[in-house]
């Protein structure tokens, strides 16, 4: 168990010995357990004990150095601090990070359960049962090649020379099942599902099995799609993946680096249709990875990013906030150059405005492409250009019936996508990465395999 007070005392003493007046530290440790199975047999059982520490030290003229280590002992801390001091010689004087002015503010209490790890044999039994049930659901499902059940207990600490002492305890569990189905003379098809919870006993494994089976079966009778432009309806997961890939729009670090689609003057500009609201909600009750503070010790809190279609705020670290003349928002990592990023997006209709064409219903549509999941975002997204060309799994809806698409890509520009949203269908749904309704977008380029 990490002890913030002890770490603070140790580092204070070491810093004094090194003549360092300003410093901070982030540390994490944890235990992981995971299992995989293969056709009724255990495939791999894994365990891990992890520890990591990052120390930053500032010179008297404001330059910062950093060193990371896996060693949380007093010797490891001393080595990390010494390394940080040496690295500080090369620190950036023009735009150095500082300690967050909000690192001493009270935190919003996170009332999340922290569940003890179960014996790995329990995880194995659950996953073997799940695999068997999934294989029994349809004769064409012959394997579940990608599967896993994991549990994790972790803790993280942030302390600094101002006296900040943050400590976060967490537990999580995940189950994923990706089935592979094959019928004579046809190409194999695959689909899957994921469920998250605070512990393995809270996982809705049955829902994961059901969703994996239904999705896989739905892709058995597939057809090629003609290349062309189609109205598309994105599943909540797919739309959140797309937004996440272009989150540089909201990222003050990217703005300052010239790598964002936004610039310093973009706040207030129209980004999307007027009925779209988007905010980052790190403390949302459904965000299982929530932390009450960021990598600089700043409290996390909801932040509106798009309000009625207009860019409302940027995500900030201490350093970017200082340059913009605002307060840090709790979205920082920890580094010599501090990264900035979102936590958990929520997409919802603007209150008081109709959420687009209320007649649009994916279950009654015709000639519409239903994009269920996007792939290869690391390769097919040009974040600083705004363009994307991505493989996807989904269906062509004909007279309300879903026909699985053999293989296809969807291409477009995120700026145009946000401005050609036709409707937000239904209530926002909870996904592992955020909340979002189904999102209709006009006329995207779809390329089918021929």
């Amino acid at each position: 168990m990490l002890n913030p007070q002890q770490l603070h005392d140790q580092l204070s003493t070491l810093a004094k010995q090194e003549g360092i007046n300003q410093w901070d530290l982030g540390a994490a440790s944890g235990t992981d357990l995971s299992v995989q199975v293969d056709r009724g047999e255990p495939k791999q059982l894994k365990g891990a004990q992890r520890s990591a520490v990052t120390v930053r030290a500032w010179t008297s003229d404001g330059r910062v150095g950093i060193t990371s280590s896996t060693d949380l002992s007093i010797e490891g801390l001393a080595q990390a601090l010494k390394g940080a001091k040496e690295a500080s010689v090369f620190g950036d004087l023009e735009e150095p990070p500082g300690l967050s002015c909000r690192s001493l503010e009270p935190l919003i209490p996170l009332e999340r359960p922290r569940l003890a790890l179960k014996p790995i044999q329990n995880l194995l039994k659950t996953l073997l049962d799940a695999e068997r049930q999934l294989l029994d659901l349809h004769p064409a499902i012959n394997t579940v090649p990608y599967n896993g059940l994991s549990e994790r207990n972790g803790e993280s600490v942030y302390i600094n020379s101002l006296g900040s002492q943050r400590h976060h305890l967490s537990s999580s569990s995940a189950c994923y099942l990706y089935a592979r189905a094959e019928q004579d003379g046809r190409k194999p098809r695959s689909a899957g599902a994921v469920r998250l919870a605070y512990g393995s006993e809270q996982l809705d494994v049955q829902a994961c099995i059901k969703e994996a089976a239904e999705l896989t079966i739905s892709h058995l009778d597939y057809s090629a799609i003609d290349t062309g432009y189609y109205n598309c309806v994105f599943s909540p997961e797919a739309f959140l993946d797309l937004i996440g890939a272009f989150s540089n729009i909201f990222n003050a670090r990217s703005v300052l680096d010239g790598l964002s689609l936004s610039n310093r003057d973009s706040l207030g500009s129209t980004l999307a249709v007027p009925f779209l609201n988007l905010w980052d909600d790190p403390l949302h009750k459904s965000n299982l990875g929530a932390s009450a503070f960021d990598g600089e010790g700043t409290p996390t809190a909801p932040l509106t990013l798009i309000e009625a279609g207009n860019l409302a705020h940027f995500l900030h670290s201490e350093g970017t906030a200082r340059q913009f003349g605002v307060a840090p928002t709790g979205h920082a990592g920890m580094g010599a150059k501090v990264s900035v990023g979102p936590d958990w997006f929520v997409v919802a209709p603007t209150p008081g405005i109709a959420a687009g064409d209320a007649q649009l219903n994916r279950h009654k549509a015709d000639g519409v492409v239903w994009i269920d999941s996007l792939s290869a975002l690391h390769a097919g997204v040009k974040a600083s250009q705004g363009s994307f060309s991505l493989p996807f799994d989904g269906w062509l809806i004909k007279n309300g019936e879903r026909i699985s698409i053999e293989a296809a890509t969807v291409a477009g520009d995120i700026r145009k996508v946000l401005k050609t949203i036709l409707a937000l269908e239904g209530e926002p749904l909870v996904t592992p990465g955020g909340m979002c309704p189904y999102v209709w977008v006009e006329g995207l380029s779809i390329t089918g395999e021929t």
Binding site: Q44, L45, G47, A48, S68, F90, S190, S375, A376
Partner: protein, 471 residues
Amino acid sequence: MSFLDSQWQGRLELLLAAGRAAGADLVEIFLERFDRLSVLAEQERVTSVNPSLGCGAGIRVFHGAADGYRDGFVSTTNLSDEGLMQALDQALGMLNLQRGISNGHSFAGLNPLSNYGSSKQNWLTQCPGVKTSADRLLEGTAKLEQHGKHLQARRGSYSRDWQEMLVAASDGTFSRDLRLHQTLGLSVLAADGEHRSSVARRFGSSDNPRDLIDWDADAAARDISASSATMLYADYIEAGSYPVVLANRFGGVIFHEACGHLLETTQVERGTTPFADKMGELIAHESVTAIDEGLSPQSFGSLAVDDEGFEPQRTTLIENGILKAFLSDRAGELRTGHARTGSGRRQGHSYAAASRMRNTFIAAGPHSPADLISSIDRGLYCKVMGGGSVGPTGQFNFSVEEGYLIENGVLGKPVKGATLIGDAETVMPRISMCGNDLDLAAGFCGSVSGSIYVTVGQPHIKVDSITVGGR
């Protein structure tokens, strides 16, 4: 601390003997120490220097020949006797084995140490320090400014990964190596009104302390600047099915994604490769011979010994279109019968090794690159490839960073936004021409055992038809 310290042999033998006595068929212990440095330069400033130090162990236990050799794997950053024994106990427990309950399995001791690192002791100190690294990166970003136009952002990054590894197993395996990987990246974002282009190049080497010192910053900056200027005003490609020519070097990502992963025994074990029972059969066009090896000096995917203590080999995967071999690690050999090829690789101690590619390439053919282009009336020339991936059904995809239309046998206007998709069984027979200009490029590969250093490569190749996603 060094794993050359003589006490390590005794400590490891105690663990291995304890694991065997508890009934394990095989126990393997992987130890690593690492010393990493990353430096980032933007425009005219060094904006980040990140040193990172660490160590850890991964203990893997195999048990049950009749059940297909189940395995338990536990990693830890605690290298004390207590920490390692705790990890062993946990790994044994996963297989319902318990230390102290003797099952009569004996352990004959470790073989004499095979020390592949003895001539590499000074590599870390021979690498450039922070000052030199920063100066070279700043030289790169200055060259970009000199050669580029409309540049909104210029970046240079360097990372050095030094690793001492020691692997010991209850079959006597006892090997140590020192490894050095360095990567260098340059990138630009160009903007002119609504037009934007982002171009990046990454260079990588293994076992060459002078890599950054000898780097030709001017040539790299000229290449990137030229690409950036070309792509800034490029149109999006029209979607459809085209014959394509893929350039050499990183064009080899097509074989890596489309076929290479499907020839790893990891995929045979999962039942996710269509080639599992096709040994000796024609699975690609007769013009295709494909090789994976870990031997080329200083190549990014080369290694003196794999992460399971097995020396790498030159493995001919496909010869004139016929499947000849799979890439196999220890688990792959135990479970599928394919002999080990020195391909057991992992990102670090927290991953169990798996069969992974090293330097993978399509062999050179008889044609000039111009022959390939001139054979196409209307198609796409993929000069620079981006990343890609392959799914559980063998469906692959990868992006084209710099493309040109081919019209009437000659290169035409630049195009962007192309994504190539297909599946290996369909595409491999369509590689109908191979050029005579084989060349390799460094890259990273992420899979079951983490992110590892690899080389991809090929000569120019022609694919008769492939689906090109675009607008």
